[in-house]
């Protein structure tokens, strides 16, 4: 039971990092990133491949952040010239292309067979609950640093500028600021966070295949921040909690309600994600923790 709770906590923290990245990009800056899972995948594969070459995880996880951030750079350059909704399509296409590349380039990623035997964090500690708690501690520390950094960003001049980009880009330009540079920075930062999340995921699950990086993951994260409240750090935290409750709860539900196969459950899960996205968009666009002073 303890091991199970620790496992859930670790996955929740990984989703939390993803949500924080998206909160920075969409919630604060208004960049509609529909390709979050692409950067998550880049992080996971980077860290996994480097660590299998024998590099220490203390190097490969930052490397995952760097590659995911660098991958976001060209996407950012393009985003400057596009309207919001086109950017959404481009990023969605990007994440699907990433998945195609990791599926096809077998020499590097072993294609659909995936990469097994990725080293764990703290492999020297015995496999039991101690190692789990140590892993959880590290991810928790990184998440707390990310939350602290986000709060600082929101309160900083940088935070005010990116929120202004979201609210009224023309007005910001009229004040002589250049939204382009800020957007690129935000995109790189958020993607680097997704890269770190991917690295932790790879080293925790120890086995990655392209099918783990489908667009549904992106929309899990979207669901989390939309339910929690867009543009609020607290929203990302609450939303991720509810997302985990939903993902794990649906697993238990299957044990209680007989006659629902795993495949049907997967379908139902997608359906509930869809329904919640629609309902929240219509009835509660600010989310649960949202800023009720504006719409």
């Amino acid at each position: 039971m303890d091991a199970y709770l620790a496992a859930i906590a670790i996955i929740a923290l990984i989703y939390m990092l993803l949500s924080l990245g998206l909160t920075l990009q969409y919630g604060l800056t208004g960049l509609i990133n529909f390709g979050h899972v692409g950067f998550f995948a880049i992080g996971a594969y980077t860290s996994a491949l480097l660590s299998l070459q024998g590099l220490p995880l203390a190097l490969t996880i930052p490397a995952a952040a760097v590659t995911a951030g660098l991958a976001a750079w060209p996407i950012g350059l393009i985003s400057l010239r596009l309207r919001d909704d086109y950017f959404a399509i481009v990023t969605l296409g990007f994440s699907e292309t990433v998945r195609l590349v990791i599926t096809s380039e077998k020499w590097l990623t072993n294609g659909v067979q995936g990469i097994p035997g990725i080293p764990r964090l703290f492999e020297t500690i015995s496999v039991g609950i101690g190692a789990q708690l140590a892993v959880m501690g590290v991810i928790l520390a990184v998440t707390l640093v990310a939350i602290y950094a986000m709060r600082r960003i929101v309160a900083s001049p940088f935070g005010r500028v990116i929120e202004a980009i979201r609210d009224n880009e023309e007005a910001l330009q009229a004040l002589g600021k250049d939204p382009a540079g800020f957007k690129i920075q935000v995109l790189i930062l958020g993607s680097a966070l997704a890269g770190i999340a991917g690295a932790f995921y790879a080293h925790y699950i120890t086995y990655i295949v392209p099918d783990q990086f489908i667009p549904l993951v992106t929309f899990y994260v979207w669901m989390a921040i939309i339910i929690g409240g867009v543009g609020r750090v607290s929203g990302a935290i609450v939303g991720t909690g509810l997302l985990m409750l939903f993902l794990e709860g649906s697993r238990f539900l299957r044990d209680i309600v007989p006659g629902v196969s795993e495949v049907e459950m997967a379908s139902l899960r997608i359906g509930v994600v869809g329904l919640l996205l629609v309902l929240f968009t219509i009835y509660r666009p600010q989310g649960l923790m949202g800023d009720f002073t504006k719409r």
Partner: protein
């Protein structure tokens, strides 16, 4: 000759992409948001056609059921969701359309399961025309697509409601002060969109397989064709779809089977960067 054969094979695929892009571009031009549920509406059409075809053995009945069913589905999505979100940001509509797509996919997954299904159509010997092998089934499918396209373009360009739709696409406010009722235009537009998607989905199902994900996987080529054709341009969408379908097939010997899908992404980026209006676009430019 080899490439000519590939190009011929790509035409049917191109029609599928073109039909999807036509559905997408109508919504984009008139309701002003990218409808990410387009792909799943196509899947719905494929399943509707498959079910009726299995029960009755008639593809004609199957296509009627698919068109009717998907048209009603699209209208329902408008009445229950998109109508309420009118005047909200594009993001709201986009996110809601993703949600609707997910719900359609979930419904199909629960109703029909996840295993791949195929249309039981009789195999026939290809016809040889000038050294090219042409599958009679492809000819039939092309004919179906041609009829569907002719019907849509006739509605758009020959009927009063079509003229009103184009007016709303051109300038919504001007259309409104001219006494065009947006409600009627939207209803007609969503019915047509659903029907067109269904024809595309059915063709896709007959040519390949039917599974709950087939439509969603078409979304990227469909978006690419819409933007290549120019947002809101029905002719552009169909032409761009054909171009993209042929280009995908012809590129296969060079880039391999898996990467032909990535071609859409490359085309999408190239068009957005070099010529955001697309080939035929004029209604709406991109910044």
């Amino acid at each position: 000759m080899f490439y000519a054969q590939l190009a011929v094979n790509g035409l049917v695929q191109g029609l599928v992409v073109g039909l999807g892009a036509l559905a997408l571009t109508l919504v984009f031009g008139i309701a002003r948001f990218p409808n990410a549920a387009t792909g799943d509406t196509m899947t719905f059409g494929a399943y509707a056609a498959l079910t009726v075809h299995k029960a009755s053995g008639s593809l004609a009945l199957g296509s009627i059921a698919a068109i009717g069913g998907a048209a009603v589905l699209a209208l329902l999505a408008y009445l229950t969701v998109f109508k309420r979100l009118a005047g909200r940001s594009v993001v709201s509509l986009l996110v809601a359309s993703i949600g609707i797509g997910f719900m359609i996919r979930a419904g199909l997954g629960v109703a029909f399961g996840h295993q791949q299904q195929v249309f039981n159509v009789p195999l026939s010997r290809p016809i040889r025309v000038a050294g090219l092998a042409i599958n009679p089934l492809d000819l039939q499918l092309a004919a179906v697509a041609a009829v569907a396209l002719a019907a849509v373009f006739a509605i758009l360009y020959l009927t009063p409601i079509g003229r009103q739709m184009r007016a709303v696409a051109d300038n919504r406010d001007l259309a409104r002060v001219s006494g065009i009722r947006p409600e009627r235009v939207m209803t007609a537009m969503w019915l047509i969109t659903g029907g067109v998607s269904a024809v595309g989905g059915m063709m896709l199902g007959i040519k390949t397989i039917v599974s709950p994900e087939v439509g969603w996987e078409m979304l990227l080529p469909v978006f690419a064709a819409t933007i290549l054709g120019g947002i809101g341009s029905p002719v552009g969408a169909v032409v761009a779809g054909l171009v993209l379908g042929v280009a995908q097939e012809v590129s296969t010997p060079f880039v391999g089977f898996t990467y032909k899908i990535a071609l859409s992404f490359v085309v999408l980026l190239a068009v957005l960067l070099v010529r955001p209006r697309g080939l035929f676009g004029r209604i709406e430019g991109v910044r």
